[in-house]
């Protein structure tokens, strides 16, 4: 019956089954009815976190644990939407209500950033494809509900990069880090321009011309991504659903060190639930990203109970390692399992560039005082 769950799988359980979680830990009298779908280990783990006594020791209220994990994983807004209306202690309800107010403001600022980019780039006349969180919100998808949205990510044809760069600089954006090495590195090897930030609104924009670094061994078909993109009423575009899932999986496994992995995987869960998996395997293979998409689907199923085709289910050997890395967070919001995190950090760089270049890159970064935390 395994060790009780005290890592971020508790947050996954609350997102997967809000009623089950609140039934287990809210003070409501009708808790006895129906077997909550939380596994026994998950219930024991959270119950072990009883309200703490005075000072010494550390067994915080399960709600305190859940909220700290959700904040650290940028999922507090999503959790607030998922748990809306569930019975819970008044303080938890108030904190989640505040989160819903805050997330609505974030969503509006993110959608405005997309509109400001649209106006600034109207003269360039190339297709502008919104990516990630802003795309989910602009297209009104479930994946966008309650989602915290940081930078604006757009995909444009590689040929239009210079015109896009000039138009943004003219409209009040400026370079975040005017550092020549970064600049040359980005332009030559990365899949995006160096990040820009708007002078007045203090919001960042990342302009991509494909979805994986040029140096990565996998080269997705950027032309197809743009050609099959879908227009929104505003004239801005979003990727076709299957391409959204492929991009989310690519970002998670082929490019990233799994930072923000639980939120990224929740995006994939929502996209799969909303659009299903029809044609997804074929599209993923076309982009050379089938292994990443298959792994993402399996992990979404494991964490969030996503419905996936049966023949996608058999687990690959390394899946448990990915799960432990994704859930490496404690009740204080602290990252845990440092060695596992370091391994995935190095792997992400390895995947992004060939060995010789990786050495030079890390050497340059090390010399300039950038230490991986």
């Amino acid at each position: 019956m395994g060790r009780p769950v005290t890592d971020a799988m508790l947050l996954a359980a609350a997102l997967r089954d809000p009623a089950g979680f609140t039934e287990t830990f809210s003070p409501s009298p009708f808790r006895a009815f129906g077997a909550p779908s939380l596994s026994h280990r998950e219930r024991e783990g959270a119950r072990e976190a009883k309200p703490s006594g005075k000072g010494e020791g550390d067994n915080p209220n399960p709600w305190t644990t859940l909220l700290a994990m959700a904040r650290a994983e940028q999922l507090l807004g999503t959790l607030a939407i998922r748990l809306d209306g569930q019975p819970m202690p008044a303080a938890a309800a108030r904190i989640l209500a505040d989160a819903r107010i805050s997330i609505a403001g974030q969503r509006r600022a993110a959608l405005w950033e997309a509109e400001a980019a649209r106006r600034a780039l109207a003269g360039v006349g190339c297709p502008i494809v919104l990516l990630k969180g802003t795309a989910f919100a602009a297209a009104g998808l479930r994946a966008g509900e309650g989602r915290s949205i940081g930078d604006l990510d757009i995909l444009v044809p590689r040929g239009a990069l210079d015109a896009v760069e000039a138009a943004l600089l003219a409209a009040g954006w400026e370079w975040v880090k005017p550092d020549p090495y970064d600049d040359a590195y980005y332009r030559r090897w990365m899949h995006e321009l160096p990040p820009l930030i708007h002078r007045d609104r203090d919001r960042m924009i990342d302009v991509h011309h494909t979805i994986l670094p040029l140096t990565a061994r996998i080269t997705p078909d950027a032309g197809a991504l743009i050609a099959d993109s879908v227009a929104l009423p505003s004239g801005l575009r979003v990727l076709a659903p299957n391409d959204m899932i492929v991009h989310a999986a690519a970002h998670l496994f082929a490019d990233g060190d799994l930072a923000g992995g639980m939120r990224n995987l929740w995006d994939i869960h929502c996209l799969l639930e909303e659009f299903g998996a029809a044609g997804l395997a074929g599209r993923a293979r076309h982009h050379g990203l089938w292994p990443a998409v298959a792994r993402a689907a399996r992990l979404a199923h494991a964490l969030y109970g996503t419905a996936i085709p049966d023949d996608w289910r058999p687990r690959a050997a390394l899946d448990p390692l990915y799960r432990r890395r994704l859930a490496a967070r404690d009740g204080w919001g602290r990252p845990t399992r440092p060695l596992l995190r370091q391994a995935f950090y190095l792997r992400s760089h390895w995947l992004r560039m060939p060995p010789a270049m990786l050495a030079r890159h890390l050497w340059t970064k090390w010399r300039k005082g950038h230490r991986p935390t």
């Binding site: 000072g55 709600w63 305190t64 008044a90 303080a91 938890a92 108030r94 904190i95 107010i101």
Partner: protein, 286 residues
């Protein structure tokens, strides 16, 4: 975390986790009269930790962590653990507060009406608040004023009052039987000592007040008084708020109501007595 402390200050609950016993013991002592977070669920988590394992013992230095952090914040020596905890709690409010419009201002109350004193640090806001409390005003807070966008009322946030350098003896003389924290020397801002708000401030911290006067005090100048136009007050208050923009239209409503309905004055004063006389005169003239 090894040592845990929980407290509610005004409407906000905090949880402070620490690798060391000393800061938590000090907090428990000074915040003994304060309630605990509602339902045992804090709004914010703060962590005081050693960035490197050996930093727990070897020249121990406290790194500030929590729900909201500033990456470049420098660690403090363990001897300033109490200051680190106070700063970290301030940072959660400054970066994370979304229910109330947060103004960097000292607030005192009399007859259900609040006086807000805002402006650059070093303008003597905390000192004035402590001295006015000694004259019967109820201390609502020395660092943050919380304005409810729906009602326009100010809510108290009576954390420990941090007094700096010369203000310490002045306030000790004015409040001989008040409780003070330890003298913390060698901080980035010189000597600091914390004053524990009195029983009335703690007992009535859940009673909001109507804002009646906004002052922009400037310490160390010849006495002067100048009314401020609403647009200048508006710009100055946005500069005194860390969450105005994040609140969106609720923030706009709260601040527009404040600048249109509450009179504002800039006052210069050479010393505490002059300032108190000025405040009492202005308050009487409302």
């Amino acid at each position: 975390m090894r040592h845990v402390f929980q407290v509610r200050i005004g409407p906000v609950g905090f949880r402070v986790g620490s690798d060391w016993r000393a800061p938590v013991a000090r907090l428990e002592d000074l915040y003994a009269a304060y309630p605990r977070p509602e339902d045992g669920i804090p709004d914010f988590t703060v962590r005081l930790f050693a960035a490197r394992p050996w930093r727990r013992w070897l020249r121990p230095s406290v790194t500030l962590g929590g729900d909201f952090v500033l990456p470049e914040a420098a660690p403090l020596p363990l001897s300033q653990g109490l200051l680190a905890a106070e700063m970290a709690m301030n940072l959660q409010m400054a970066l994370g507060q979304r229910r109330y419009l947060l103004l960097h201002a000292s607030t005192v109350e009399r007859d259900g009406r609040a006086l807000l004193m805002t402006g650059l640090s070093g303008a003597g806001k905390s000192t004035l608040a402590a001295l006015l409390a000694a004259r019967g005003w109820r201390l609502m807070g020395d660092e943050f004023a919380l304005v409810d966008p729906e009602t326009g009322r100010v809510h108290a946030f009576p954390r420990l009052v941090s007094l700096k350098n010369g203000a310490i003896p002045i306030v000790r003389a004015a409040l001989p039987d008040a409780r003070f924290g330890p003298l913390i020397a060698g901080t980035p801002k010189g000597d600091i000592r914390h004053l524990v708000p009195d029983a009335a401030a703690i007992a009535r911290m859940d009673q909001p007040a109507e804002p009646a006067l906004i002052l922009f005090p400037r310490f160390g100048f010849a006495p002067a008084r100048r009314p401020l136009g609403p647009s200048e007050v508006f710009v100055r208050l946005t500069q005194a708020s860390t969450n105005y923009v994040a609140l969106g239209e609720r923030g706009f409503d709260a601040l527009t109501r404040l600048v249109r309905e509450v009179p504002a004055r800039a006052i210069d004063y050479p010393d505490a007595e002059a300032a108190i006389a000025e405040v009492e005169a202005l308050w009487a003239g409302l």
